[in-house]
């Protein structure tokens, strides 16, 4: 989705914007608390999660991310491995996540737009994630986040999330986190 396309859409109503913000804040809180099974109720069956590889190119018209290569690429089905690993019996062996890191997500610049006549809402946001492991100082990592939300009764479901990291060399202890 290009910026041009995005501006062609219109901002959702204040009421819808509030509902979407509420959904995203609740969803981020579930992730902060590592409540994966609860979080799984926020995503569609065909959910896709993508973090393209950041690249510094000399030609800005070619974009700052790889077209095909990913730092992370998951589906609802592949995320089963993430969720089940946190279950009792396996979490003891989740060495890289146990003890759990302190990971907190800060969302801002939330822009929710809709093409007239469509149910789908596109949400772009800036995200700051703080990540503290053991006694390490917090590592901060920021990203642009593009979400596609579909209506689900009086709330929403996340159908697609694309995260564009703002750095080419990652410095978090790992990246087994959903932005």
């Amino acid at each position: 989705m290009t910026t041009t396309e995005r501006t062609a859409d219109t901002w959702v109503s204040a009421e819808t914007h509030w509902a979407i913000s509420k959904f995203l804040i609740d969803e981020a809180e579930l992730l902060d608390q590592w409540r994966y099974h609860d979080w799984a109720r926020c995503i569609t069956d065909d959910f896709r999660y993508e973090v393209p590889i950041p690249i510094t190119r000399d030609d800005p018209t070619r974009g700052a991310y790889a077209d095909k290569g990913f730092v992370a690429i998951e589906t609802r089905s592949s995320l089963e491995y993430w969720f089940r690993r946190h279950d009792p019996g396996l979490f003891e062996y989740a060495w890289g996540e146990n003890p759990l890191q302190r990971v907190n997500r800060f969302l801002t610049n939330i822009r929710a737009t809709q093409t007239p006549g469509e149910d789908v809402v596109r949400v772009s946001a800036k995200e700051l994630v703080s990540f503290s492991r053991q006694s390490d100082p917090a590592v901060l990592i920021t990203a642009d986040r593009d979400d596609v939300l579909v209506p689900n009764g009086d709330s929403w479901l996340l159908a697609h999330r694309c995260v564009r990291l703002h750095q080419t060399v990652l410095d978090t202890p790992h990246l087994r986190i959903i932005f």
């Binding site: 393209p52 095909k68 290569g69 690429i73 998951e74 592949s78 989740a94 790992h174 087994r176």
Partner: protein, 436 residues
């Protein structure tokens, strides 16, 4: 021919964590060895370039206007300005942003602003070309060295070359996207030795991955053919510090079976391989190894999603030294150019989900490697020795495969091969020395 592995079984920890030894490594290991710089598919067109590191040296890797791969220090010969500021791009010339000196992608100094006004008539542009490295490629992998005395690349790779051909040369390959890069707060050798031959860690480190079924379903595996008896795991000391471990499925295959690859490509693979090279691909569960000093690789077989059949992924990673306890880790996915696009996508996804920075395996490996750095900061801990006594499978097999082939799963002969070569170079710094 690779000499047999010695039984030296203890290595002190200073070699990993001492800053003075790290500085020595840059001189005696990274300045003398052939180092991986790019895959050929990253430089498809004339003028394509990527910026990389060779040890701590910043270099430009490019394909010149004649189609030759070239490697130059990424530094202007005038004041040392940085020439390329991007990770990748395409250009016929490199222009310094400081005073504007401009170089062709053959490294010749072509442009000097106000040449006649600034410099005397005898100023010789030819004397100020970019510092270039020796460059050669093998099985699509481009290597470079600034050492004029290094042996030819093929001799340097020695017995490992045959295996690199088998895994990387069976078809034209391409990089998916670009390398993923991250900081590993540990020593480069910790990763290199792990990939070189450490299967012993899998049961503990990757316990959760095993339990979750990433190695596939035993019932599905049994459907591939009758269970076979004999040897299925080989740890190979390929000489010159190179090592590889090959693990096959314990199945009797009627014909060469390139598990995880689209069957329509098997014929192409076979046409590029000898019978024995086909054999190290057939029935393969996993192969992983390390090209001395810091290029690791892994041919994985894992299901991209639960309950899907396993797919093959070819993974390359480089441990780029920054300091004794800091490394930039770069990872590439390689796929056969002729594979269907959806297959390429699934192959890449499967490896990202296991060995990407958020991968099921990688997350736990990273914790181990960083923890080792954190727990060996003091001089008392550094005086402790490390144990490398698992030299199982001695003596080596009589095998048609090159190198010394040890028929044992958890043998540490590969790790010892890496450390033995490291000690030789650190001791006498002579890159022409063969492993003894």
């Amino acid at each position: 021919m690779t000499p047999e592995s010695s039984t030296v079984a203890a290595i002190d920890r200073y070699g990993f964590w001492d800053p003075a030894i790290f500085d020595d490594e840059l001189e005696k290991i990274f300045k003398t060895s052939w180092l991986f710089v790019a895959h050929e598919s990253e430089l498809e067109q004339k003028g394509d370039y990527v910026t990389r590191k060779m040890g701590t040296e910043a270099v430009i890797v490019t394909r010149d206007e004649a189609g030759q791969p070239r490697v130059f220090l990424n530094t202007c010969t005038h004041r040392g300005g940085q020439l390329c500021r991007a990770d990748m791009g395409n250009t016929s010339h490199f222009r310094c942003s400081y005073h504007g000196w401009t170089f062709s992608n053959k490294g010749e100094l072509r442009g000097v602003p106000d040449l006649r006004a600034v410099y005397p008539p005898q100023f010789d542009r030819k004397a100020h070309g970019l510092a270039g490295a020796r460059v050669d490629s093998f099985a699509g992998l481009i290597f470079a060295t600034f050492n004029p005395d290094a042996p030819p690349l093929q001799d340097y790779l020695g017995d490992l070359g045959w295996y690199l051909e088998a895994y990387f040369g069976k078809a034209p390959m391409e990089v998916v996207g670009a390398p993923t890069r991250g900081i590993l707060r540990s020593n480069w050798k910790v990763g290199a030795e792990n990939y070189g031959g450490d299967a012993y860690h899998v049961g503990t480190t990757h316990h959760s991955a095993v339990e979750l079924g990433v190695f596939g379903n035993p019932e599905e595996t049994a459907k591939l053919g009758p269970l076979a008896s004999g040897t299925f795991v080989y740890c190979i000391d390929a000489g010159n510090g190179h090592c590889i471990r090959i693990q096959k499925l314990p199945i009797e295959f009627e014909k060469p079976t390139l598990l995880g690859y689209p069957p329509e490509l098997w014929g192409l693979f076979a046409s590029n391989l000898s019978d024995d090279q086909l054999a190290v691909n057939s029935g393969l569960a996993v192969a992983h190894g390390n090209v001395f000093p810091n290029l690791s690789f892994l041919a994985a077989l894992s299901p991209p999603e639960p309950n899907q059949p396993p797919i093959r992924s070819l993974h390359v990673r480089q441990w780029q030294p920054i300091s004794a306890d800091r490394t930039e880790l770069a990872m590439w996915s390689l796929v056969p150019k002729d594979a269907p696009e959806e297959w390429k996508r699934q192959s890449h996804a499967a490896i990202v989900r296991t060995l990407g920075f958020g991968g099921l395996f990688e997350t736990d490996d990273l914790q181990n490697w960083v923890g080792m750095a954190e727990s060996n900061r003091g001089s008392i801990s550094r005086q402790q020795e490390l144990v490398y006594e698992a030299v199982l499978g001695n003596p080596p097999l009589q095998s048609p495969w090159p190198g010394n082939v040890y028929a044992a799963d958890h043998s540490e002969v590969g790790l010892l091969a890496l450390h033995r070569r490291w000690h030789e170079l650190m001791r006498d710094g002579d890159p022409s020395t063969r492993s003894v």
